[in-house]
């Protein structure tokens, strides 16, 4: 995508062009600041003494540096076990999704498959119309998924968008390679594992990252399909903390401040939450720059064929 756009042939910048340049840079830099500063604020708060932060005035650097918030999060047994659930569902869910999706995408990419058009139509239709929230819930409960760990994995096993992305990617691999493999005596499975999969690393990386992020960030399944808090992923734990704070916000803030001042611990719910937010977000931010180069390609494939 980069380096393809036009270079001005003649260096003939009019004053108007220069003005456009300046305005462009100003807007883009401002946007980046607007995106980064709130994150910095949260980071600063997570490293700041909770009681001290409650007095206000902590912007982008911690005023009273402490690691207590993080220590508290790691000592909280329920948060640690929630992390375990999140990790488990992310790994199992992503692996199974990639397996089922790539199998299906490969099969649907074989032109000789009878019924291909009908199956593709039936799958794409689910993008436009689906069962509502309640019929879906009833079906999950009939399948025994409610209060079951697999409710995190099975409902998000295949996504139409990612299926279409993979199929389009397979479409772009020269058909002669598959034909050669078949002539060499590879069956469909052989062709898939020996020819297609090794060539599909970019699309597997992108779809894998998207799926993993969806798993990592999902709180809905935990909040509505899981009554026992023992199996909640970390996002649901955070969501419950948040909704308590949101509905408690009718109280006078002075009361809250007073309660904080009266408590012995220097860690407040707020500072604890900020630390949890940072810990929960960090892994995604570590992985994503490595996959970033595939994004443009992935989105374009998904859109053109979608």
């Amino acid at each position: 995508m980069e380096s393809q756009h036009h270079k001005p042939m003649k260096v003939r910048s009019t004053p108007a062009d220069k003005a456009v340049s300046v305005v462009t840079y100003v807007i883009v830099i401002a946007l980046c600041l607007v995106i980064l500063l709130p994150c910095l604020n949260v980071l600063a708060l997570s490293f700041n003494d909770g009681k001290d932060a409650a007095r206000g005035g902590v912007y982008f650097f911690p005023r009273m540096f402490t690691l207590m918030n993080y220590k508290e999060v790691f000592q909280d047994g329920s948060i640690i076990s929630a992390y375990r659930i999140t990790l488990a569902r992310t790994f199992i869910g992503t692996f199974l999704s990639l397996a089922v999706t790539s199998f299906a995408a490969f099969a649907l990419n074989q032109k000789e498959l009878p019924g291909r058009g009908i199956i593709i139509f039936a799958i794409t239709f689910t993008m436009l119309f689906g069962g509502g929230t309640i019929p879906t819930y009833v079906q999950y409960s009939r399948l025994g998924l409610i209060d079951n760990f697999w409710v995190y994995v099975i409902p998000s096993l295949v996504s139409v968008t990612y299926l279409i992305m993979m199929r389009s990617f397979f479409d772009g691999i020269p058909y002669e390679l598959q034909e050669a493999a078949k002539l060499d005596g590879c069956g469909y499975f052989g062709t898939f594992f020996r020819v297609m999969l090794p060539l599909s690393k970019p699309v597997l990386a992108v779809v894998g990252l998207y799926t993993a992020v969806n798993h990592w960030n999902d709180w809905f399944a935990g909040a509505f399909y899981m009554t026992s808090s023992k199996l909640w992923p970390v996002q649901t734990v955070l969501q419950q903390m948040l909704s308590r704070a949101m509905s408690a916000s009718t109280q006078q803030t002075e009361n809250v401040a007073a309660a904080i001042a009266a408590s012995q611990s220097s860690v407040t719910t707020d500072s604890l939450k900020m630390a949890a937010v940072v810990i929960t977000t960090a892994p995604i931010l570590c992985v994503y720059p490595f996959v970033q180069k595939y994004f443009a390609k992935g989105t374009l494939i998904g859109a053109v064929k979608g």
Binding site: L31, F106, A107, G117, I119, T136, L157, T299
Partner: protein, 333 residues
């Protein structure tokens, strides 16, 4: 490879049923076999498809059939099919209820913000990024603007709640420093709700949504720019006369897809941003369905509302698509 007339006719027939299947030499020999033989020879493919097909039947199509819940007095013991029919009872109940028009108004308001108001911003960012010649700067910008897309709604609302807190939140501190009161409870006042939602959405999505437009822009024919510049177009002019028309198709497609979500957009945010103070505007159809369905157990009633949403969404996409097809030749299908 010389196909007989008979083969050709057969091919044509198959072609129509197989939707744009490209011809290849080996395909022709396979296609002359009867259907069941062709199916049999593809058994490994069906095996590969099996998990996905089972998934779509159990997780997608059974709930679609389960929409009949909207016409049933559901009891857990009797199941969907055993429960007695009640006809249009829940639909009448909904349209004559006190909540109905408030919910629809709120939903349309949110849908309008999300599908229409927010729509042009990603295009603008893509156009801006396209004007930036410094590759390194552009790359860093992209990395930063894509970032919020990867944060969960829970994380974002948690951050928001801290930043917007009265007195101690950063925003109020800044207002105070500028001479304001600094004790505004943004999340508790319904007047701020739509602005908060709009800002939060732009913050989260602008970078990510711009990717697709950037990709489309990179596909615009470079000679057009040269021609425009010969004709005396400056960069703003090129942007207006070359880039925008060049990505018209992409813009149209994304708009059509967005319109389907007019009645069902942003459940997660709405659910998380709700406070006792802004309930009057934050209660949308989505939120209501979960509230009365999953939390209060009124399955039939909630299903009816969900069905209305789904059908309206379907009709909107189909209608927008056919209108667009007629006037601009941009269409999803």
């Amino acid at each position: 490879m010389c196909a007989t007339t008979c083969d050709k006719i057969e091919n044509l027939q198959r072609e129509s049923s197989m939707r744009k299947g490209k011809q290849n030499p080996s395909g022709i020999t396979i296609r002359t076999k009867p259907l069941w033989k062709r199916m049999l020879s593809c058994w490994p493919l069906y095996l590969m498809l099996l998990p996905a097909i089972v998934y779509y039947i159990l997780i997608c199509y059974v709930p679609i059939a389960g929409n009949v819940l909207a016409f049933k007095d559901y009891s857990f013991r009797k199941g969907i099919w055993g429960s007695p029919w009640v006809g249009m009872k829940y639909f009448n109940m909904f349209f004559s209820s006190y909540d109905c028009w408030r919910l629809i108004r709120n939903t349309l308001h949110i849908g309008f913000i999300k599908c229409i108001l927010e729509f042009p911003f990603a295009i603008l960012l893509a156009l801006l990024l396209n004007e930036i010649r410094a590759e390194k700067f552009k790359k860093v910008t992209q990395t930063i603007t894509y970032l919020p897309h990867f944060l969960s709604s829970v994380i974002i609302v948690t951050m928001l709640q801290r930043i917007l807190a009265p007195n101690t939140g950063v925003l109020n501190q800044i207002i105070k420093a500028l001479g304001g009161g600094g004790d505004t409870f943004f999340l508790m006042q319904s007047g701020y709700f739509h602005r908060i939602l709009f800002t939060m959405d732009i913050w989260r999505n602008i970078g990510w949504d711009s990717i697709i437009y950037l990709a489309a822009i990179s596909g615009v024919d470079q000679e057009l720019y040269e021609a425009a510049s010969m004709d005396g177009c400056n960069r703003l002019g090129q942007c207006w006369h070359v880039t925008l028309p060049g990505i018209r198709g992409t813009i149209g497609l994304l708009f059509i897809m967005g319109v389907g979500g007019l009645l069902s957009s942003g459940f997660e945010q709405m659910w998380l941003l709700r406070t006792p103070g802004n309930m009057a505007v934050a209660d949308t159809l989505d939120v209501y369905v979960v509230r009365i369905g999953l939390q209060n157990g009124q399955f039939g009633y909630a299903s009816a509302i969900g069905l209305i949403q789904g059908l309206v969404g379907l009709v909107l996409v189909v209608a927008t698509n056919s209108i667009s097809k007629k006037f601009t030749e941009v269409a999803l299908w």
